[in-house]
Every structure is written in structure tokens, then in C-alpha cells.
Symmetry: C2
Subunit: 227 residues, 2 copies
């Protein structure tokens, strides 16, 4: 039975964003669990760490892209069982940081429910990488920040928060177009696949952004009020 | 004159949370600027990277702990001038991540205004380190997160956000006590100096926390609604 599980955030696309701690933990574990979204599809998280896990046992965990909670629960349970059946100390990889919208969090909760020791190794998460690539601070001084998945309740917070991060920007254009004559009050920075080789960046007023280029699962928008 | 400035997030207390990228950049620059809050006081950021900057020129940047914007501006301008007068490529260290409430952000803006090239090297920031140490996810699925410095407008967002991060918890107890009979609706995780050797952690309902132990500049609270 498993002794300890390290939940490792491997950061975003740039392999160098891995922490020394992640590298050192990967060196000492025997088994590395890697998330995939489809059978036969490459794990992005595995690509990032592959230089540091020579000779390790690699086990894939399937987390399909669906919003159906019942289906997902089945896969989370399966993944948890696989991890618990492994011996010794193991690592489970996740893109970004394990504490922020990671698929690992569901397995993490199940492992804790089963009394398994979990240690989190933080990683660089995409909103920070996106702000870095846009060359703008997210927040300064006493500014307020919120993070809204899929821009949930965006209209309610646009005037209250100095900075809004939207994770997954698929419907963002439609939400922002509804602002009509208030549109010029905001600046949008938008980044697809921050720090990956095929990264794409835009920054400007709402009407200046070609949102079609950013309809991607790994896109992040940063919305700021014009000062 | 300076050619390029790397704004490097060195993470929080645990030295191993440094990224490989930060380490590699520190290796190639000639000069490393380190923030201090008082003349003669040790730089925490310098402590974290000191094993990687043997033989480098170290220059201190003084950012005193005051809220007086006019005084601060004087020091930001002085720091920017010092950086611009250095030759070649230089690094400026900051605790946590440069994009999230970093002192570096003011200097960063001034450098950009002066046409200096800046590249951001992200670091692990304290809310993530705190969640990791508390062994709880910050947000999952479609949950909403906000970050409020000093708990600004906390009462307005307590019921709207799944998770609220409070940076600097000095007045948090007073704000939370006002909730009276609603107090048991929330769980608080609170971490002083996450991942430092003298880290302190508590988790529970509001009445169970000894807030006096967490009146510290580097304390973070994570507030969640009881599900």
C-alpha cells in the first residue's frame, strides 16, 4: 500500500518553471502518476518533467474532459485506487499548482478521506505566468483581485475589482460584448498557452482583441479597469 | 546603462521552492539587487538564493515599511535609478511572485516607463504555499476565488465567493467577530510565514483560532464556506 503521496505542480509550459523541490521529490519516488485527458494522448505534465524521471515507473491516470460529475467521480475513484495500490512514496503530477483548479484536488480529497498522507509541492500557476508574459502586475498595493472560472458572474464584479482573472475564455467575447458603451473602461490581456512554444498574446481594449484566436482550454484573460 | 532587468520571484521561505529558471538567470547576471525594509536588516529574498549567487555583485534596494505614498515614491525612484545605472543584465529579487502585491511592481512600472526591457521570472506566491501547508485546495471546479489585502470589503464577499484569501491578517479578528451568529458558517485556515522554519498554522471555526499568534506581515488567511 502507498506510504505517502506528493501532489506536484509542474508549472505551465516552460520546463524551467519547475521548482527545485519538485525535481528533488521526483528523484526520490519510485512511481510517477501522470494525468491524461484521453487514452493514447500525450500528458503535457509528463513532457515538462521527462528529463528528471529516467527509469521511474510511469502510470497514467485518465481524467476525461467532461462536466458530468457522475462520470468524473468514477475516474477520480479509479485514479485514487490506482495510487493507493502502489507501494512506497509516489508522485502525482498536475499542471500549474495543485491548489488552484487542479484535477488532482479531487483525488487529493479522496486520498485524505482514506487516511493517506499527502504533501503538496507548489508549482507556478497559469494566471501568474500569463501576467508575466503580458509584462503587467496582476495587483499592487491594496488592490482587490478575483478569479472567475469561465467568467462566472463577471458583470457583477467588473466595477468592484481592480483586476479580474478569467480562467477558460471560451465564452468571454459574448460576455464582454454585452457591456456596450462601457466597453472602453477596461483593458484586456489575454494569453493562450502561457510560456508554451505556441503561446499567443494580445493586450488592448475589448474591440481590439480577436477573441477567436483564444478559444482554448489553456487561455487566461486578465481584465483591468482603465485608470 | 542597464541592458535588461529580470524581475525574479524567489518564492516563500523554503529555499527549494525556487524555480530552475530563477537559478539559471541568477547564474548569468552580474548584479543582483535585493530588497531590504530597513538599513542593516537582512534581506529574506537574499537568504533564499544565497547559495546560487557566489561572486555576484549584490546591491541593496531600500523599501521602508510605510503607507505614505510620497515617501515610497522617493524610494521607488531611487531604486529605479540604481538599477538603470548598472551595466548589462541584472536581476531584481522579490519574495513570492513579482505579479502579486510585490514591491518590485512599482519599480517594474518605472523601468517600463523609461523604456527598459523587463522579463518576469515567476515564483511561488504565499497564498498557494499557505494552502499547500494547510493541505487544502484553494478552489476546485467552477468555484470563485478572491484575494483581499487586509480583508478589504470582506463582509461584502463572504457569501458570494467560495474561497477568500486575506493577505495581511492584522485586523482580521475584529472583522470576523462582527459576524456574530453567522460565524459558524465559515472555516478559516491561517498560516504565518508559510514554509519558513518558524511557520505557524491553524485551521478551524472562527472561535477556535487564536488570532493573536498570527498578527504578522507575512500571515495569510484562507476563508471557506462550510459545505
Amino acid at each position: 500500500m502507498v506510504k505517502k503521496v506528493y501532489g506536484i505542480g509542474v508549472g505551465v509550459g516552460d520546463k524551467e518553471l519547475l521548482t527545485l523541490k519538485a525535481m528533488n521529490v521526483l528523484e526520490k519516488v519510485n512511481t510517477v502518476f501522470v494525468p491524461i485527458s484521453k487514452e493514447g494522448k500525450k500528458s503535457i505534465a509528463l513532457e515538462i518533467v521527462k528529463d528528471y524521471i529516467n527509469g521511474k515507473k510511469i502510470i497514467e491516470l485518465l481524467f476525461p474532459m467532461t462536466k458530468d460529475k457522475e462520470i468524473l467521480k468514477k475516474y477520480w475513484n479509479e485514479a485514487t485506487e490506482k495510487i493507493m495500490n502502489e507501494d512506497g512514496e509516489v508522485a502525482v503530477l498536475t499542471l500549474g499548482d495543485p491548489t488552484l483548479y487542479s484535477t488532482f484536488s479531487y483525488v487529493w480529497n479522496l486520498l485524505k478521506d482514506n487516511g493517506v498522507e499527502v504533501e503538496i509541492i507548489n508549482g507556478i500557476s497559469s494566471p501568474f505566468a500569463a501576467a508575466g508574459r503580458l509584462n503587467i502586475p496582476l495587483v499592487e498595493g491594496d488592490e482587490k483581485l478575483c478569479i472567475l472560472p469561465q467568467g462566472k458572474d463577471l458583470e457583477r464584479y467588473l466595477d468592484e475589482f481592480d483586476t479580474i482573472v478569467v480562467m477558460k475564455t471560451t465564452n468571454l467575447e459574448e460576455k464582454l460584448k454585452e457591456l456596450n458603451d462601457k466597453k472602453d473602461k477596461y483593458l484586456i490581456g489575454i494569453v493562450k498557452k502561457a510560456t508554451f512554444e505556441d503561446e499567443k498574446i494580445a493586450f488592448g481594449k475589448i474591440d481590439e482583441i480577436d477573441f477567436d484566436e483564444f478559444r482554448d482550454y489553456l487561455s487566461i484573460a486578465i481584465i483591468k479597469k482603465v485608470k
